[in-house]
């Protein structure tokens, strides 16, 4: 695995850490800021800091360092959690997210000065203040075991000052008492003695061991001693090989997990941990027992835990990127740190598996077809094969499934930014975060969802005064939910704002020439005008929304995912946008139809009903245009044959009418016959040929024929274009 791949792993883990942070902060906002939650936050930031140091992302590392300083104060109880502090932590979280994005090269380095100042002003200022000068690590002996905060380099430097000042007294009896405690109490934790030696090929792929040593220095390493006996004479020196090793000491307060985290992304290092008490014997016994017991358990052949300070436990970590996790102390057993029964798999491998399963499904269908030609239908073996194939396909698809949580986790930040920009106050309710959908859907739904949310806050939810005047609560409510319904995922973005002002929408649409002034429009049709290209009712263009391109783009993005978008609204009470999306883009339930000699697949999700036209039900308007009367509704008929240039059944009495749902209402697709209804494996036309309007993809049928999958919306658009040209 090269350094880039390891760095990608770090970025993935950072992303997961950021998601964990968002979840924890959501709990904090609800008042559930217990020790476990705070600890999880601390560990996530600490882990990001460690990885950033290892890969030389200094801005990210520095910011995380200061952030962590305040979190450490919070974790230790020195700082109480207050709404004001939570605001600062949230702002810092947003900047941390930006720093991670900058480290990935996705944006420029964020300006973090204001947030750093806010962090410094939280009361953890002494610990959080940025270092004015690059820190100089003193390799010589530190003064006899001063009380060093776990991993704060600035504080360590402070301890090297001639007369270390005690912590500033607080107007707090407990703080006063703590000053009266014996000064040695925090020193009781035995210090770590660590031997480390990079692997011989530690420089391969750009590895730089000194960066890891620098990170250890930041965490409080002292007595760093170089071991160079393996260094050959200069004539024999190979600059691509690592020959050096080091021994050093770390404060006992730094957990072994935290130290090991520094080496999480490198392979082959020899690490040896030894913990030795250096304080008074009575304290040593207690701390050695508590600290060493888990280490002893971690050994393959552990000696019985001994309280004797003279028998230190040794924990050797063999050459491995991820050491075998030792049983964590209770305080460290936070959910984010818990080992999970998961492995990382490259997406390419997964996609290859899904593709192969797709091929298997096609082959199985071909086999069934071939057997049926020989009168061998309904054999139990074939039925078992069909069941197994479908089960295998569902299992393969479920591997690609991801919870919507990965998308929803970004929503709170969007809301925070919108609140800051608009002065509005929004209460966010997220439902169905664990609803699972295909990875592609998760990746591509973010943008349309973000736009809907921005739109809801910018246009829908009123300001506090307007809401109070309307008899509503001061805070607007935005509900973002996801659920599975009838084999599709339905995402809802609903607000309790002012709703769609239909009179204004209609007037704007007429003004912009989107509809004729005398057009008779239903409420639903007026609501749908907001999706028209170039439509915007915003009085002025803001940087949030109102450019008049958004909702059109939202609809197109949703359609590109094989989905539909709808809106319902009550003026004065709010609006609700509903996105209906397929659970996966790789398989599709469809109706197999024939037009002339060609076979097509109509997605089942679009189909309302199918029928044969009775005499008088079908009215021809022009050459290709017709209208079908379906129980009083006059629906436009899309004649697939003429539309796609295929010779089709000429006798309308023998054609089949399929009523489909589209964003513009219902329509009818006219085909020659219906052959079957089945699940098909979708093959991309764009990837294998090129995009064709009206066709969303292709599939291979059981008899080996290729069938095109109709894009109902595209067919309708194609039909309208033809009619417009003909007119």
């Amino acid at each position: 695995m090269d350094l880039d791949a390891i760095q990608q792993m770090f970025f993935q883990e950072s992303e997961e850490g950021l998601q964990a942070l968002e979840s924890c902060f959501a709990l904090c906002r609800e008042g559930a800021d217990d020790a476990e939650t705070i600890n999880t936050i601390f560990r996530a930031v600490h882990s990001i800091k460690g990885g950033a140091g290892a890969f030389g992302h200094e801005h990210l590392q520095d910011f995380a360092h200061h952030y962590e300083g305040v979190l450490d104060q919070l974790r230790s109880g020195t700082l109480p959690m207050t709404p004001a502090l939570l605001d600062v932590l949230l702002a810092a979280f947003d900047i941390l997210t930006d720093h991670v994005a900058a480290a990935r090269g996705e944006r420029s380095t964020p300006d973090d000065a204001a947030v750093l100042a806010a962090l410094a002003g939280t009361g953890g200022a002494q610990e959080a203040a940025p270092a004015a000068e690059p820190a100089e690590i003193v390799a010589a002996a530190a003064p006899a075991a001063p009380a060093a905060p776990a991993d704060d380099f600035d504080a360590l430097l402070g301890l090297l000052e001639p007369s270390p000042a005690p912590p500033a007294p607080q107007d707090d009896f407990d703080a006063l008492l703590s000053l009266l405690e014996p000064a040695a109490a925090p020193e009781a934790a035995p210090r770590w003695r660590i031997s480390l030696r990079p692997s011989g090929d530690a420089f391969a792929n750009g590895g730089e061991p000194l960066l890891l040593l620098r990170e250890l220095a930041r965490m409080g390493a002292s007595k760093v001693a170089l071991e160079e006996p393996g260094l050959p004479p200069i004539e024999e020196l190979d600059v691509q090989r690592s020959y050096l090793g080091w021994s050093l000491e770390m404060p006992g307060e730094v957990s072994k997990d935290d130290i090991e985290a520094v080496f999480e992304f490198v392979d082959g290092w020899q690490l040896e941990f030894r913990q030795e008490a250096i304080s008074s014997p009575a304290e040593t016994v207690a701390s050695v027992e508590s600290e060493n017991a888990p280490e002893a358990i971690a050994e393959a052949a552990p000696a019985a835990p001994t309280p004797a300070a003279s028998a230190p436990a040794i924990a050797s970590v063999p050459a491995a990127a991820k050491p075998v996790p030792a049983p964590a102390p209770a305080a460290d057993a936070a959910p984010a740190g818990a080992a999970s029964a998961t492995i990382r798999v490259e997406l390419d491998k997964l996609d290859r598996l899904v593709n192969l399963v797709g091929e298997l499904v096609i082959t199985q269908a071909m086999l069934a077809q071939r057997l049926s030609e020989h009168g061998l239908t309904g054999t139990s073996e074939l039925t078992s094969l069909e069941n197994l194939t479908r089960e295998l396909q569902e299992s393969a698809m479920s591997i690609r499934a991801q919870p919507m949580k990965t998308v929803f986790n970004r929503v709170p930040r969007i809301i925070r930014e919108l609140e800051a920009d608009t002065g509005k106050r929004v209460r966010l309710q997220l439902d169905g975060e664990m609803t699972e959908v295909d990875k592609t859907v998760v990746e591509r739904i973010g943008e349309p969802l973000t736009h809907l949310i921005r739109n809801a806050v910018d246009h829908g939810i009123e300001g506090p005064e307007e809401r109070l005047a309307a008899g509503k609560s001061e805070d607007g409510l935005l509900r973002v939910g996801a659920e599975q319904r009838s084999g599709r995922i339905v995402i809802t973005v609903a607000d309790d704002g002012r709703g769609i002002d239909r009179a204004r929408v209609r007037a704007k649409a007429i003004e912009r020439g989107i509809v004729a002034p005398d057009a008779m429009l239903s409420d639903e049709e007026i609501d749908n005008l907001i999706f028209a290209p170039g439509f915007s009712t915003a009085e002025k263009v803001s940087n949030i929304s109102g450019r008049g391109v958004g909702m059109d783009v939202v609809r197109r993005n949703v359609q590109a995912l094989g989905g539909r978008i709808g809106v319902s609204s009550r003026f004065g009470s709010g609006a609700s946008f509903t996105l209906s999306l397929p659970l996966t883009l790789a398989v599709l339930d469809g109706m197999i139809v024939k037009v002339g000699e060609q076979t097509f697949v109509v997605p089942l999700g679009n189909i309302v009903e199918s029928l044969r036209a009775q005499p008088g039900q079908l009215s021809h308007l022009a050459d290709d245009a017709a209208i079908l009367d379906v129980r009083g509704m006059q629906l436009p008929v899309l004649q697939i044959g003429p539309l796609l240039g295929i010779p089709a059944q000429s006798d309308p009495d023998n054609t089949v009418m399929i009523v489909v749902d589209t964003d513009a209402g219902q329509a009818v697709i006219m085909v020659d016959s219906i052959e079957d209804q089945r699940q098909v494996v979708v093959k991309s036309l764009e990837a294998n040929y090129r995009a064709i309007p009206g066709v969303s993809g292709a599939t291979i049928l059981g008899d080996g024929r290729v069938a095109l999958i109709l894009d109902v919306e595209g067919v309708l658009a194609r039909s309208r274009r033809r009619q417009a040209i003909a007119a």
């Binding site: 420089f203 004479p233 200069i234 020196l237 600059v239 020959y243 050096l244």
Partner: protein, 92 residues
Amino acid sequence: MPNPEQLPAVLNAAAAQPLLNLLKERLADNEPLILDGSAVSQLGQACLQVLLGARAAAGGRELAFTITNPSEALSMMADVAGCSDLLLAGEA
């Protein structure tokens, strides 16, 4: 005392082989190794090994090994690597 040899600003893994060649050349000529470290902004382990190797070789030949005017970055990384006394403490 000969003019100090200016050390490059970036002493990363890529700079190790040229540095090794340069120092071996000086040693072959029996020249003392007087190196100016004022421009160094980055020091990696590969170059550190070369400097340590050169220091040992110079000592063996009774030649001087000195890094003059070490930059802040060089001093810091030497401290981090626990070898300030070896590299920056005057002649070998």
